[in-house]
């Protein structure tokens, strides 16, 4: 059911799994496991979440991860529980986690999206978001996060936070958000969310 499971991808997975098991008997890997496995009970195996409200963090770039955790820790970014969790770990802990999750494959589990909304969302994406969210949101560059195939309820919650200015964003994004909201209001946020959630194949 995993859509991105092309032959080369699964070969790669097999190879890296083999390497991983061989290496993970070593103490350094146990130490990494000790930290990152405290995350996976909520965020899913290797950071790919099975629960639609909790985002997948696999494949997140090092900088995006560090930025998320340090801003949770300092309360610059607000969430229900991550602020409380982030304060329990050091910057060095974050580095270990960031390095690990950046290397994990973002696994896309099947989810239902509305194709009409997704189509409208695609237009909005092209117009307002594409410059920073390259490859329909598949690539996490300069903190853009992986949006493609992220869980719909999480995308909706995040977009809502941004639109209400409850989550900080770069000026460029704030401007884009303003433009999107002015034209289509909350319905367009929904369309964007459906578009990103529906992306299973890299363009």
């Amino acid at each position: 059911m995993i859509k991105r499971n092309t032959l080369s991808a699964s070969l790669f997975m097999l190879l890296s799994m083999g390497l991983h098991t061989a290496a993970s008997a070593e103490a350094p890997d146990l130490a990494t496991g000790m930290l990152v496995n405290t995350c996976v009970a909520c965020h899913g195996p290797s950071g790919s979440s099975h629960g639609p409200a909790i985002p997948s963090i696999a494949g997140m770039s090092h900088d995006t991860f560090m930025n998320a955790m340090t801003t949770y820790k300092s309360d610059e970014r607000k969430e229900t529980i991550m602020n409380r969790i982030a304060k329990g770990y050091s910057e060095a802990d974050f580095e270990v986690m960031a390095a690990y999750f950046a290397k994990q494959e973002f696994v896309r589990f099947p989810q239902e999206t509305d194709s009409k909304k997704a189509k409208a969302g695609a237009k909005l994406h092209k117009q307002h978001c594409e410059n920073c969210h390259a490859d329909n949101g598949f690539t996490d560059e300069d903190g853009s996060s992986i949006l493609a195939g992220q869980w719909l309820p999480y995308l909706e919650a995040s977009l809502s936070d941004f639109s209400k200015k409850e989550r900080e964003m770069p000026k460029k994004m704030a401007d884009a958000m303003k433009a999107v909201m002015k034209k289509g209001g909350e319905a367009s946020l929904e369309q964007l969310a459906h578009f990103y959630a529906s992306q299973t194949k890299k363009p």
């Binding site: 130490a31 405290t38 909520c42 409200a53 909790i54 529980i81 329990g88 770990y89």
Partner: protein, 432 residues
């Protein structure tokens, strides 16, 4: 043994072991390269040890002894009582663990011999271990309440181990007339899932509010305070009229004669407090006092408290070498929760792998998060990160804590969604 010297004898028995490893695979694993780890209990703690040991070092042979073919999670079982979830959504099996090379023995572990390093099972197997992990959960101390017993629990359920007991209690709630009274009794510390009885009362009130609004639930408590108390009471006030004479929930703490001492199943009554005040009800849910799972008690892993003392850095029992106890049964500073058991299991895996490989234990890290669903779109949580410090688990200062008391409606709604997603991921962690 006159014709065999010791060396020849050892060789011969090693050969026997190799044969039996094929014919009777459970008899001996003395020949397994990375060592043989036996785990008793396939719940929140045991499944994680099994899976993560295999991941960390595939040369370790892992046997999981679990008496039930299916596992029903206690977590989210209060939602079954509230009517928002089916019992089947709590049911999980062990096939995926078997596929990962864990040998599943669906039998009860009946004895541990820590000297011979063997576990005996109800099916007559003798499992030889290099390291043993015991994660049996709790046993219910029926004797703690006069008139209560395993038999009476068929009429007055505890529902503190999920499955048939949950279904029984749910059925009673459904059959109850509008205007009926439900009694829930909350046990003394320590017990499985400290916020659990309060989430349960919330979920029952959630059901009554929708379907039987003239009814009420009376919470008789052996304690004067409970976790997330302020938040629960805030939620009860908001959703169930708590504090008014129309409240769906009434709470009697120990100081107000809330501690249950006796139940009488014949006329559906409970007696509470020093004065033994009599309360009658249509449905009674007694959550009795608790101790470590029976196998831990029977095999000398418990101390005078009825729980298992452990080295909190490794979870090795302080009473028996090479035996590790995790989850509800162990004495730690962490709350007795599935998330704690999950986190302890991962620390325990690191301890076992390093010990089997003759290496130093790495620095452990522990975490717990517990969600409680108070009602529709109303979730609250508590979290803590623990570090090992001078023999104890200290929660990291400034971190963790509970949902802020001024949390917005949207925040509370999201906590419900996160609770459900947490349930998905933690059960995937255990059973896939």
């Amino acid at each position: 043994m006159s014709t065999l010297n010791r060396r020849q004898f050892l060789k011969a028995s090693a050969g026997l072991a190799a044969v039996s490893a094929v014919g009777m695979p459970y008899l001996s694993h003395a020949d397994s390269k990375g060592g043989h780890v036996v785990i008793i209990g396939g719940g929140a703690g045991g499944t994680i040890v099994a899976k993560y040991l295999r991941k960390a070092d595939p040369s370790i042979q892992v046997t999981l002894v679990e008496k039930n073919a299916d596992y029903y999670t206690c977590f989210m079982s209060n939602e079954v009582l509230g009517g928002d979830r089916t019992i089947d959504s709590l049911k999980f099996g062990y096939d995926a663990l078997a596929k990962q090379g864990v040998e599943i023995v669906t039998e009860e572990a009946t004895a541990i011999d820590p000297t011979a390093k063997t576990v005996t099972t109800s099916g007559g197997k003798t499992l030889k271990y290099d390291r043993l992990v015991v994660s049996p959960g709790i046993s219910l101390v029926y004797e703690g309440i006069e008139g209560y017993s395993k038999e009476v629990a068929e009429k007055i359920p505890h529902a503190w181990k999920a499955g048939a007991q949950t279904t029984l209690l749910r059925g009673q709630l459904e059959a109850m007339k509008d205007g009926g009274v439900v009694i829930v009794t909350s046990p003394p510390n320590p017990y499985r899932c400290p916020p659990g009885p309060y989430e349960r009362v919330s979920q029952i009130a959630h059901y009554l509010k929708k379907h039987k609004p003239k009814s009420k639930v009376l919470l008789l408590d052996a304690k004067d305070s409970f976790p997330k108390q302020g938040l629960f009471i805030q939620g009860w006030t908001k959703l169930y009229g708590y504090g008014t004479d129309k409240s769906l929930i009434q709470w009697l703490p120990a100081a107000e004669q809330g501690k249950v001492v006796r139940v009488d199943a014949s006329d559906m009554s409970v007696y509470a407090g020093d004065l033994e005040d009599k309360h009658t009800a249509d449905v009674i849910n007694v959550i009795p006092p608790q101790k470590a799972g029976k196998i831990a008690i029977d095999s000398g892993l418990t101390d005078a408290t009825g729980w298992c003392p452990v080295d909190k850095r490794t979870f090795e029992s302080t009473l028996h070498k090479d035996v590790y106890v995790i989850g509800d049964a162990a004495i730690t500073e962490m709350p007795k929760s599935a998330y704690s058991a999950n986190s302890q299991a991962k620390v325990c895996v690191a301890a076992i792998v390093t010990s089997l490989q003759g290496k130093e234990m790495i620095e452990p890290s522990y975490v717990n998060t517990c969600y409680s669903i108070v009602g529709e779109d109303y979730g609250i949580s508590v979290a803590a990160i623990f570090k090992y410090k001078e023999g104890a688990l200290a929660s990291v200062e400034g971190a963790g804590g509970v949902t802020p008391s001024d949390a917005s409606a949207d925040h509370l709604r999201r906590e419900v969604l996160y609770a459900h997603s947490w349930f998905k991921n933690i059960t995937v962690d255990m059973f896939s």
